[in-house]
């Protein structure tokens, strides 16, 4: 434990390896996100973006390497311990609690908070209002459309006021109007001082939202830098067109 390199970066990923059988999904990822930074992650299908996110939040155990959050080493911690360290996320394919009301969905991440039920419910309602889901608050989450489920996940992620949030394809399968709304929400999250890890295939949104971008290909970071640097990077262009 003692030898792992930790920094004060909001998210620090060092030498991360992950294999599935013979398939190398992550091949020595080095990545850092500073506090209050939006770090965009791009890459073709199967590049390892979701796997990276799964390793950071502890649901996949990396074969080698370390993850730190706010300078604290997370290696070997369980997903709920990592969540309590201030990490929230959404999923590429929404994973809401289907047979629970929207309100109850939002309460799940804050169940062990030392606050009254009333205070938590009011916060959940305010959050649903912000996400324009307030009218549906007593419905089961399975009764929402796919796009609405994405909004619900976003609200659920924000409930415990995490320091670090990770968004996996927030715009996939989302109507342009809702897409614009999502972008505004993410901008608000970033403006609130949270560190954001944003995965998306939608380069326009990524370039608009990110302070820095990392491009993944076959489990490696092939380029990293400011939006302008990534936009003109030949390796990125080739990885995208070559696929």
């Amino acid at each position: 434990m003692s030898a792992t390199k930790t920094t004060a970066a909001a998210i620090g990923v060092h030498g991360l390896h992950k294999r599935f059988g013979g398939l190398v999904a992550l091949d020595g990822i080095e990545l850092e996100a500073r506090a209050a930074e939006v770090l965009g992650i791009i890459g073709v299908n199967g590049a390892g973006k979701t796997t990276l996110m799964n390793c950071i939040c502890g649901i996949y155990r990396a074969d080698r390497g370390s993850v730190s959050i706010g300078g604290r080493d997370m290696t070997g911690l369980t997903p709920h311990e990592i969540a309590h360290a201030g990490v929230g996320r959404t999923f590429q394919i929404p994973r809401v609690f289907r047979k629970m009301s929207l309100i109850d969905n939002l309460l799940v991440p804050v169940l062990d908070r030392n606050q009254t039920d009333r205070a938590l419910i009011e916060r959940a309602e305010a959050m649903l209002e912000q996400m324009r889901l307030i009218e549906l608050r007593h419905n089961f989450a399975e009764e929402l459309s796919g796009g609405q489920q994405k909004l619900l996940e976003m609200a659920r992620m924000l409930m415990p006021e995490p320091k670090v949030v990770m968004l996996d394809e927030p715009f996939a399968g989302v109507h342009p109007t809702l897409c614009r709304f999502m972008i505004e929400q993410i901008e608000a999250i970033a403006a609130g001082g949270k560190t954001v890890l944003l995965i998306s295939h939608d380069l326009t949104s990524i370039y608009r939202l990110s302070h820095r971008v990392a491009a993944l290909n076959q489990g490696r970071v092939i380029a990293e830098g400011s939006v302008d640097e990534i936009r003109g990077n030949p390796a990125v262009v080739e990885a995208y067109l070559g696929a």
């Binding site: 969540a83 994973r95 609690f97 799940v108 062990d112 009333r118 419910i121 305010a126």
Partner: protein
């Protein structure tokens, strides 16, 4: 900001009135059920029938914690019941415990057995169900193979205490009310929300900060406690236990059917399910003593075909807005 507070006030009062309706309904149902059962010995109604009605309500409600709330299908659920029955019987017969002092140990035995089975909670779906069934078989074998002086062997163990049908009836009623109260609490508690989240998506719940292993264990132990108590009280009521009846798979089957008939996941579902099905069973048995199992089987099939969510489950599906009001 002002817009938010304007909208929040009516929501708070709406929440308060929903809460009031919920607890009023719970009190009415609890009151009616209590008064009804209290009066059974007084009015000299069929004591045995109502004793078992309460037993099935308790069993189905506790099973609901394992299935409706936690998402498990313990096909060996009878193991808790059987071990509870033998615990009370052995304590009373061999160690001369007063029955009422022995009964809590049945509950403890159930929880202990639940702890021993806890490693199986990492399994899910059909794998959990099969392992649970196998474990119940093992429990039964272990008890069958204990020395005859302890378990009474194939003749069963007679408690030898004076039969006290009315007192045991009222103790069964206390157990039932305790179970219903626990589940009423659970369904609104934070533990209950955590259990449902884990049921719907354990990995996602974990990533949202829920300690999945711990939450599952708590739910499981609640589900293990009550059938063990039922077994103990039933041993007292009938004054005899034997492995054949105490570990009868039909007990699990009935528990599942009654719980499913009413609807898993609600407090009222298993109560309504047990009420309906036990009455139906009794009526059919009275009218068609020879083919009662056949008719009951057909009734069960029809129920599952046409109301797969059970009576209350179907009602709440048709009227989703009632979910907040119906316990």
């Amino acid at each position: 900001m002002s817009l938010k507070t304007n909208a929040a006030a009516p929501r708070a009062s709406e929440r308060e009135s929903a809460r009031r309706i919920y607890f009023t309904l719970a009190a009415i149902i609890g009151g009616v059920v209590s008064v009804y059962f209290v009066l059974v010995p007084v009015l000299k109604l069929n004591l045995a029938f109502h004793f078992y009605l309460m037993l099935w309500i308790t069993m189905a409600s506790a099973f609901n914690v394992a299935s409706g709330f936690s998402g498990y299908m313990p096909f060996g659920y009878v193991a808790f019941y059987g071990v509870g029955a033998f615990t009370t019987a052995i304590l009373v017969q061999k160690l001369h415990f007063p029955v009422l002092a022995a009964l809590p140990f049945s509950g403890i035995a159930g929880v202990t057995l639940g702890l021993m089975f806890a490693p199986t909670l990492r399994l899910s779906g059909i794998y959990f169900a099969i392992v649970s069934l196998a474990l119940a078989g093992i429990c039964r074998l272990v008890i069958t193979n204990l020395p005859e002086e302890v378990t009474g062997g194939s003749f069963g163990l007679h408690l030898g205490s004076r039969a006290e049908p009315v007192l045991s009836f009222y103790v069964m009623m206390c157990v039932m009310l305790l179970a219903l109260g626990t589940i009423l609490w659970l369904s609104r508690s934070r533990l209950g929300k955590a259990l449902r989240a884990v049921r719907d998506d354990a990995e996602a719940a974990d990533m949202m900060g829920v300690n999945v292993v711990r939450v599952r264990l708590y739910g499981w132990l609640i589900a293990a406690f009550f059938p063990a108590l039922c077994g103990g009280v039933e041993a007292w009521y009938t004054n005899v236990v034997d492995t054949e009846t105490a570990f009868n798979t039909l007990t699990t089957a009935k528990t599942v059917i009654y719980a499913v008939a009413g609807g898993l996941g609600t407090v009222t579902g298993p109560i309504v399910g047990a009420f309906t099905m036990v009455w139906l069973d009794e009526l059919i048995w009275r009218e068609f003593p020879r083919i009662n199992m056949l008719i009951l089987g057909i009734a069960t099939v029809l129920l599952v075909l046409f109301l797969p969510r059970g009576l209350i489950g179907t009602l709440l599906r048709r009227r989703p807005q009632w979910r907040r009001y119906i316990p």
